[in-house]
């Protein structure tokens, strides 16, 4: 029982890693806390559902994030870039408006009933993990989370574009003066962040059912993760995502009455202790 719960906590943590790396990247470059990120995740999941229905899951896994990438680039070009001189809190409200529009769009196109996506045939089996049978698909979700975390870390650490991204999140003006096209960079990074939200949606679809409430469930947890980890810090978000997944898994076993509230208790405690989050140096 405990082992299964810990495993599921790991799966949820991996999903949160994919979600939150997008949120953290967008925050890093645009200083925008994207309230619509959960809706983008939901949109990715429903897009994936439709694509998987026409073709198969593997096509959806590539195509839905690709569509979301294009959407993210447009969002940056015609949204965040035009609003970059505004007060960050106004931009938050714009993303809240965007959230309403996307939620309405999804409900209009796909309806309000629950939909489900079957796990791909190649992963539709159980694997024996330390004596406990676990669904192979969930194991794959953990792998996706690990790959995203590792890939992003290596990219940011060792590639030239990664260096530009890190520079621009520290000081966009100086970076632009050094000859980096920060607008193009931001468009790319917001696109990447949006694509990651879409990827999280497609990956989540076979083990969480699709419903119009799926966005608000995950966005609140994602906020907890990025705030606890430190806004804009990827490493902080990775650790916080795993901690949150584990806390929920263990909470469900030992203190079921309080399990739903635990993430918030952690968030409140961390923010009061360290207002900029565990790994955050800026606010």
């Amino acid at each position: 029982m405990l082992a299964i719960n810990l495993f599921n906590g790991l799966v949820y943590g991996a999903l949160l890693i994919v979600m939150c790396s997008g949120l953290a990247l967008i925050y890093g470059l645009r200083r925008v806390v994207n309230f619509a990120h959960g809706s983008l995740y939901m949109l990715g999941a429903y897009l994936g559902y439709s694509i998987a229905l026409q073709t198969n899951f593997w096509v959806a896994l590539v195509a839905a994030p690709a569509v979301m990438l294009a959407l993210g680039v447009l969002l940056d070009r015609y949204g965040f870039r035009l609003l970059q001189d505004r007060d960050p809190l106004t931009v938050v409200l714009v993303t809240f408006g965007l959230l309403l529009v996307i939620e309405d769009f999804v409900q209009t196109v796909w309806g309000k009933s629950n939909l489900s996506v079957p796990a791909p045939a190649a992963l539709n089996m159980s694997v024996d993990l330390l004596g406990t049978p676990v669904p192979a698909y969930r194991l794959a979700v953990i792998a996706v989370g690990a790959m995203v975390a590792l890939g992003l870390s290596l990219w940011l650490r060792y590639s030239k574009v990664g260096l530009f991204v890190r520079a621009a999140s520290t000081d966009p003006t100086t970076t632009a003066m050094q000859g980096v096209n920060t607008d193009a960079l931001s468009a790319g990074v917001v696109g990447l962040g949006t694509a990651l939200a879409g990827l999280a949606g497609v990956v989540a679809a076979p083990f969480l059912s699709l419903s119009p409430s799926m966005s608000s469930d995950v966005i609140i947890d994602s906020f907890v993760v990025v705030v606890v980890g430190g806004l804009g810090s990827l490493a902080g978000a990775f650790i916080a995502a795993m901690v949150l997944g584990m806390v929920q898994a263990l909470g469900a076993v030992y203190i079921p009455d309080l399990a739903a509230v635990l993430p918030f208790v952690i968030m409140i405690a961390v923010l009061i202790w360290k207002p900029s989050g565990l790994a955050g140096s800026r606010t």
Partner: protein
């Protein structure tokens, strides 16, 4: 604002409410307006925090909902008379919000919004899962006594009376805010909002005023929640959900938070628009989402700001005309 002007505006506002209550005969329209006025009080609370403190709360639904729950529980347990319960609830919200405010207003910017969101969601989840007294996800009925503050329930059941009660409360809340904010307290909170560091340099203690504004704005939201509990006689976890805070914030921004009357205007516009949209109301989320974005992008001061500009613009034109005529 001079005392005379404040008094005149209050009297005019009360008269306007009475005129609406007397002239509108349709019960449905009146109950729609009543709902709008209740949300106007709620939005006024959210806007107060934004205007005096520069902070966006995504969790004011907490105070909007908790006041109804508190009164409901107290009445259910028959701890005290209803009139006292109302006052104790508001005092309790003010004190609790002040204590919480002392801690959370230190958290800067967007993190504050998320913190309020988390605290609010925590109560939403607790209320929807708890069994027993509060009825969990089903909500609870509130046993209002036969007479409240001397007004019999049978009278309150009439839409025109209910509207007038809520409208008067809204006017009184706004009057109170005008009186409080035009004095030293208003000046101090504005100084702290504009530049906390400089305010500290000139010897103002900045934490207390900010926590006080948070407590005041929470209490105003709580007053709205009490009106809602009185209007429907019922409270359920939905009222605590963060989307309620979001909708309230939307009214504040669309109405315009810089003017005291902007948020109530936003609430009334919201409910009327939702009613007029009728068949399209299924798509109200998209419609209001686009409206919200459009207002923020094109008129950051909201409808109130646009109206003020229009009015001022005409005044300057008139003044210029007068000057030209004299020459």
């Amino acid at each position: 604002m001079s005392n005379l002007r404040v008094g005149m505006s209050t009297a005019a506002a009360l008269a306007a409410g009475a005129a609406v209550a007397l002239l509108v005969s349709s019960g449905t329209v009146l109950s729609l307006l009543t709902q709008a006025v209740i949300y106007a009080v709620f939005a006024t609370g959210i806007a107060l925090l934004l205007r005096q403190n520069g902070m966006v709360s995504f969790g004011h639904a907490l105070f909007f909902g908790v006041s109804g729950y508190a009164v409901g529980i107290v009445l259910q347990l028959k701890l005290m008379p209803a009139e006292l319960a109302v006052l104790v609830t508001l005092a309790g919200i003010a004190l609790a919000a002040f204590a919480v405010g002392l801690v959370i207003v230190r958290v800067p910017g967007v993190a504050f919004s998320m913190l309020t969101l988390a605290i609010g969601q925590m109560f939403f989840l607790t209320a929807s899962r708890s069994r027993g007294l509060t009825g969990g996800a089903d909500g609870m009925n509130i046993d209002w006594p036969a007479t409240l503050f001397g007004v019999p329930q049978s009278l309150l059941a009439r839409p025109a009376v209910m509207f007038m009660v809520c409208w008067s409360v809204l006017v009184l809340v706004m009057l109170l805010l005008v009186l409080v904010l035009r004095g030293r307290f208003g000046a101090i909170t504005e100084a702290v909002r504009d530049n906390e560091e400089r305010a500290r340099f000139i010897g103002i203690r900045t934490l207390m005023p900010r926590a006080a504004v948070y407590a005041l704005s929470a209490t105003v939201a709580g007053v709205g929640g009490l009106l809602s509990a009185l209007n429907t006689g019922f409270v359920s976890p939905e009222i605590l959900h963060w989307s309620v805070s979001g909708v309230g914030l939307m009214m504040v921004v669309v109405g315009g938070y810089k003017a005291l009357w902007g948020p109530p205007l936003g609430a009334i516009v919201y409910f009327l628009a939702r009613d007029v949209l009728g068949d399209y109301a299924n798509h109200w989320m998209a419609i209001f989402g686009i409206a919200l974005i459009a207002v923020i992008v094109f008129s950051p001061t909201g409808i109130a700001g646009a109206l003020q500009r229009l009015f001022k613009g005409r005044k300057t034109v008139l003044a210029a005309g007068a000057v030209a005529a004299r020459h």
